[in-house]
């Protein structure tokens, strides 16, 4: 850090990172924590921490995107949040996220119950599977990015996501089989 031009470039780059990924970090925090108040805290802490280590992260990234690094910070802070408060992660449905989803009203009403069922299933997944799904579907991250954020190999990440989806499928099948049995009785 001995060159003013470097500092200016770093500041510009951080500004870009912040603008590009504020929504990603907030979405991740919200789905990980389950309420807006704590999601705001987590987002704030993530960016402040990122700020402190941005120079080094940028040097070590060798030009790779920094979103996985940013999400990894949020991931670690969320883990601390649960450890400190002895809370279990939750995934909340009844808020802006589902309501604001870009779908038609009719489709929304039809899908709402199914979405609730899926979210119930997600809340019962092991932490690593749930996190991988949040990164994939809320942040649209690919396997490589998710692998970097979780500190796993790409192959292991692919398997993790596949198993998470398979577990949800099975849960939905069991639920619908239970519903049908209930109707027959």
């Amino acid at each position: 850090m001995n060159d003013v031009a470097d500092k200016q470039r770093l500041d510009r780059d951080f500004t870009e990172l912040y603008r590009a990924h504020l929504r990603d970090v907030y979405s991740y925090a919200y789905y990980r924590i389950g309420n807006h108040h704590d999601a705001e805290d987590l987002t704030e802490q993530t960016f402040l921490q990122a700020y402190r280590h941005f120079d080094r992260a940028q040097r070590e990234s060798k030009g790779r995107p920094l979103r996985p690094w940013l999400i990894r910070i949020a991931h670690n802070l969320a883990a601390n949040y649960y450890r400190d408060r002895s809370r279990r992660p939750v995934t909340q449905l009844d808020d802006a996220a589902v309501i604001s989803a870009p779908h038609g009203t009719e489709e929304m009403v039809e899908g709402r119950e199914e979405v609730k069922e899926v979210l119930r299933g997600v809340s019962e997944l092991p932490d690593d599977r749930r996190e991988a799904l949040i990164m994939r579907f809320a942040l649209d991250m690919d396997n490589r990015e998710i692998a970097r954020a979780l500190g796993r190999s790409e192959g292991a990440t692919k398997v993790l996501i596949h198993r998470a989806i398979r577990q949800l499928e099975q849960g939905l099948e069991e639920e619908s089989a239970g519903d049908e049995a209930g109707v027959e009785q």
Partner: protein, 111 residues
């Protein structure tokens, strides 16, 4: 549609991206500014009392790094403020404000 595709479609609906509240950006920018102030204070104290003693250089050197990084927070703050004022000129306004802040930063570092 296969069961897996159906689950993926439902997951996309369930995990729609969530827009952060406006107040969060303001709060975050305040935090960055406070960090800049704290680092600047530490740097000033060091300049007055410890310049002659090399054993004291490590911590304030870290403050220089944090301070210069945190000053970038001001880039965010000012860029946003100026962007709000000049909504019509969009990116040009942002670039201009970044140049202004970069000049300020350069002056501070040289002064």
């Amino acid at each position: 549609m296969s069961d897996a595709e159906r689950v993926e479609r439902l997951l996309k609906m369930a995990f729609a991206p969530v827009e952060p509240p406006e107040a969060l950006s303001d709060r975050l920018e305040r935090g960055l500014t406070e960090m800049a102030d704290a680092a600047a204070d530490e740097l000033s104290e060091w300049e007055l009392s410890a310049m002659s003693d090399p054993r004291n250089w490590v911590r304030p050197a870290a403050a220089v790094v944090v301070g210069s990084m945190a000053a970038g927070g001001l880039v965010l703050v000012r860029a946003r403020q100026q962007q709000k004022k000049r909504q019509g000129s969009g990116l040009r306004a942002l670039e201009r404000s970044l140049r202004d802040v970069a000049d300020d930063l350069e002056k501070r570092l040289r002064g």
